[in-house]
Amino acid sequence: MTNPIILIARKESGELLLSGRGITWLLALSIVMSVLSLLLVSNTELSLLDNASVVYMVMGTVTALGSLLAVVLGTDAIAGERERGSLWPLLLAPVTPSQIVLGKMGGQTAGWIVMYLLSLPYVWAVGSSGQNLAQAVIYLALFATPVVLGFGFFCIGLSARVHHVRTALLTGLITLMLLASPLLLGPSLRQSGIGKLFDAVNPFSAALNTFDSVVIDSQTLAVQSSRLVVTLVWLVTTALFAMRSMRKIKI
């Protein structure tokens, strides 16, 4: 008999990758990436950016878009099932809440893998004539994955605790906007004490600072260890939050 976790994960990833709605989301994300890429060559200001800076910018955008996709998928995972009336049958099935959450997490992971693969041609297109392209591809996987999946797990937890998709989605998006603010504010954030503290504990900042450090400054993994810890703590905390929330699920 197939493991229920794999069954749920397969159903979740199938809905994303094989349904018309899922592919349309991926199309929308690819259009955002394309517009950004075209701006990079057509805009005078952007086209004069150093190649490494452009790769860093694309990596940050991929992380933000992946997180956005994770927020939408995570929110839909439980609250969406509840609104569609399919949560009861799922809970009555011979699976534990933990298995349901792990299956949903599997779907999230599949969504991010597709998103990551979709971003690679863009990273190659902007970075192949510059420095540290291989590092960009590896570190995008290494640091963006816990950040993106963390957002997804956090929203799975949220959607288990609140009644409506809208509430969960809004909370998820506000959290994403808060944590992803360094993408817009850049280094100016680190000029104040609060900004430095926020930067030190924010997983999104950790990923962005790593991309900067590796791609632009050519620094090694050893320099990134504390940042990797921040992103992994985020991943584990949100995963525990999702598991715990599923046990306290509101029908």
Partner: protein, 176 residues
């Protein structure tokens, strides 16, 4: 004798670019803060002074900046469209012995060897008056190549769009 006269005249003109019947004297200096070895994307600034050293007021003074690429095989005047938003200044009257200082900022868009020069005319003088030129070299910087971006930017969404259309028609049984 004539050849010697012409040579002397040419040398004098070369040594002092201000011709005897020029009403305006134009100087041109690079900003001290300019990078010593500029590269694409850097900003340069030039300062010029346009002085009326004739015995009459100059009317309708127009001064403008020109940029010329001088790389072998690529000699050409450069369209300043992307390089500078500050391409010319005008003065309705420039009184005798008065001068006007002008700052010319410039963004370096392409690598190469360049000469920059300020030219000016007024209503009374029948020829263009120019400053001495300043040469500078712009270093290449690795930037994004549009040749790779375009296929990806149009190709990836197109593939997904084809996938969506194919799925839709497959469900309707058109592709079997």
């Amino acid at each position: 004798m004539f050849k010697i006269f012409v040579t002397v005249l040419f040398l004098l003109a070369a040594a002092n670019p201000v011709l005897a019947n020029d009403t305006l004297e134009i100087s041109l200096q690079p900003d001290p803060a300019n990078p010593p070895s500029p590269q694409m994307g850097d900003w340069l600034k030039f300062h010029s002074k346009i002085e009326n050293h004739s015995s009459n007021d100059a009317h309708g003074v127009v001064a403008w900046i020109s940029l010329i690429q001088v790389d072998p095989g690529k000699e050409q005047p450069v369209d300043l469209e992307d390089w500078s938003a500050h391409k010319a200044v005008t003065r309705s009257v420039l009184p005798v012995a008065q001068q006007v200082g002008v700052e010319w900022p410039m963004r370096l868009i392409q690598a190469g060897s360049y000469r920059v020069v300020i030219s000016a005319v007024d209503r009374e003088t029948a020829h263009v008056m120019t400053s001495p030129f300043i040469g500078f070299q712009v270093r290449q910087m690795p930037v994004v190549e549009s040749g790779r971006i375009l296929p990806v930017a149009f190709g990836v969404p197109s593939l997904l769009l084809i996938l969506i259309i194919w799925r839709r028609y497959r469900h309707r049984g058109i592709f079997g």
